[in-house]
């Protein structure tokens, strides 16, 4: 029989107290770990979608809206811009390339985006079945959209005006699905891609001249583009916005929320350390005689010290393991709830460096919380303890 065994038995002998300490700690650890995980997940997702898009060219309005609408497809666009004027900008020497986007319709809530093949190429989207669109009204569907709507090659549909509901259906033109993309874990998965002419066609503007598009995703050739382009566009109805900066701003706004959650999580953890301290301390007080007894049986103060520290350590480790379990289940649940936005990747179950730091510090503080009661055992007067019973 080992000290470890005694420590475990002692904890199990007080199931309620042990459970309380463990659950408190588990919830604190679980919340912090869940935040670390989801923050990384969201950041990854944002970054994966930005992928080499340095600037977005679109109609004047909120730059953040421009980014959310055209990079992430989660907001309404700021308006339309003139195709010719936009193409002029992509020919600027500081600009390497541009991907045009034109949209305004949806099918069952999934956006129909008119673009060219450079858009799926940009996200390294490969064909899973069928082919890329080539003719007008041909559509290649993102993996998630195809799966959620149960679309397959050869299916046809009418688009609906707007980006959300299907009340105002354009029944003049029928779209036909010619291909389905493999999953890319990027925004492309959620889109129905076609050429720009199809988008114009639905709305009856058949002429190329004076045609409008929604935005252009730009890749810069020269860093000066960031400074030069805004000046250049001053007197037009267009603007450029930087995804990296706008998302940073958004993160900072979100940050207030995540800070509040962190503060609550830390508070719960502090409470749980107090509870570990009280639990180990109480155990020690009520078992004073037992501890004195072990001393008369030849146990050194160091042995008893180890025993008490082990109890605190076991509580901490139990809480941490349980907490990590909670955060995984939490993330899994969250991922299932928002499966449309986030394709869940099982490989992210592994421990993140920030979590390893969390685990180490929690166990360290847990041990620290049991050190005070443990030091008391070192100072215990055995003779007096035995005589007072």
């Amino acid at each position: 029989m080992r000290l470890f065994y005694i420590a475990r038995k002692n904890l199990l002998a007080k199931p309620l107290q042990t459970a309380l300490s463990t659950i408190l700690l588990a919830f604190g650890v679980g919340m912090v770990s869940l935040m670390i995980l989801s923050e990384k997940k969201i950041k990854d997702q944002f970054e994966r979608n930005i992928k080499d898009i340095d600037l977005v060219l679109g109609a004047k309005g909120s730059p953040l809206q421009l980014i959310l609408a055209n990079v992430y497809h989660i907001d309404a666009p700021t308006g339309n811009i003139d195709l010719a004027a936009a193409m002029e900008v992509t020919k600027h020497p500081y600009v390497e390339s541009g991907i045009p986007l034109a949209y305004g319709d949806n099918y069952m809530g999934y956006r129909i985006v008119g673009t060219d093949h450079s858009y799926p190429q940009h996200y390294s989207a490969e064909i899973s079945e069928g082919e890329m669109w080539s003719e007008i009204y041909e559509v290649t569907v993102g993996a998630v959209a195809a799966e959620k709507m149960g679309l397959s090659i050869g299916d046809t549909f009418y688009s609906a005006h707007g980006l959300k509901d299907g009340t105002d259906v354009h029944d003049n033109v029928e779209f036909k699905i010619v291909g389905i993309l493999k999953s890319t874990s990027s925004v492309i998965d959620q889109l129905l891609l076609t050429n720009i002419e199809s988008v114009w066609g639905v709305h009856g503007d058949h002429t190329d001249e004076g045609s409008e598009i929604t935005a252009v995703l730009l890749k810069k050739r020269n860093p000066m583009a960031v400074l030069t382009l805004p000046n250049l566009l001053k007197d037009t109805n267009m603007q450029v916005a930087l995804p990296a900066i706008e998302i940073n701003r958004l993160n900072n706004q979100f940050g207030i929320g995540t800070k509040a959650i962190s503060a609550i999580a830390l508070l719960i953890m502090a409470l749980s350390f107090a509870s570990i301290f009280i639990s180990v301390f109480e155990n020690m007080q009520t078992r004073k005689y037992e501890l004195a007894l072990m001393r008369t049986m030849g146990g050194t103060p160091a042995t008893l010290f180890k025993l008490i520290i082990l109890e605190g350590g076991l509580l901490s480790i139990g809480g941490v393991l349980f907490g990590l379990f909670i955060s995984r289940v939490g993330l899994f649940t969250l991922a299932t709830l928002v499966a449309d936005q986030f394709k869940y990747d099982i490989s992210e179950m592994s421990l993140l460096p920030a979590e390893i730091a969390l685990i180490c510090s929690v166990i360290f503080v847990g041990l620290l919380a049991s050190t005070i009661p443990a030091i008391k055992t070192l100072r215990m007067d055995i003779s007096e303890t035995l005589s007072n019973e």
Partner: protein, 217 residues
């Protein structure tokens, strides 16, 4: 086995206690009789090394324990002394037989676990507690607890067994049973038995007695 000479002790701030010399040989039995407050427990704690004597010396098995350091004393006590307390106390979260392994765990002796467990079952068998080996100490009657604590005091074959008021909580019949057990088991183990009590029922039983006088005031 044990011999003390000119032992004195004082709790901080109170007057000096001095104790009569005590000696007890291998296999002997010694009764230390005294009323409460006469310093019986103090004397035991001095000999066990739980308290440090102000002056005088204590020899156990030829070793002068009054010069041992704390750690050496803990080790020495664990290896050579078994104590039966007035009220039997156990580590409540462990079973009776697990409690009996504690002295071995605490002193880190090299006894193999097979040997230890066969000794435990042999002792429990002799003390009529075999059926309680896996019970929690809480489930034992007072008499059974006292027998289990005798088993624990003897498990590591100590040279000396102290019994501190082993009978004060027991009726005549149980007292007789417990004392007989203590005598038999210590004799079997070749240990010296020191019973410390105020229980006058035991007075006539032992020839070798030391009486402690109640202190003035």
């Amino acid at each position: 086995m044990i011999s003390t000479r000119d032992l004195t002790f004082s709790y901080s701030g109170s007057e000096l206690l001095s104790f009569p010399d005590v000696s007890c040989g291998s296999g002997d039995q010694l009764l230390i009789l005294g009323d409460s407050g006469s310093g019986k427990t103090t004397l035991i704690h001095l000999i066990c090394g739980l308290l440090k004597a102000r002056s005088g010396n204590i020899k156990i098995g030829g070793v002068d324990v009054s010069v041992l350091g704390d750690r050496e004393m803990d080790k020495f006590r664990g290896a050579n002394i078994g104590v039966v307390f007035q009220q039997a106390h156990f580590v409540q979260s462990l079973s009776v037989s697990e409690n009996l392994t504690l002295p071995s765990l605490m002193t880190k002796d090299n006894i193999s676990s097979e040997e230890l467990y066969s000794r435990i079952s042999e002792l429990l068998e002799r003390l009529g507690l075999s059926h309680k080996a896996d019970s929690s100490p809480k489930e034992l009657s007072v008499g059974e607890q006292q027998r289990a604590s005798i088993a624990r005091a003897l498990i590591h074959k100590p040279q000396i067994v102290f019994a501190d008021e082993p009978t004060s909580a027991l009726d005549d019949k149980s007292t007789e049973a417990v004392i007989s057990l203590l005598e038999e088991e210590t004799k079997l183990a070749g240990a010296c038995l020191v019973i410390v009590t105020h229980d006058q029922r035991l007075k006539s039983r032992y020839e070798k007695r030391v009486e402690l006088k109640k202190l003035a005031g």
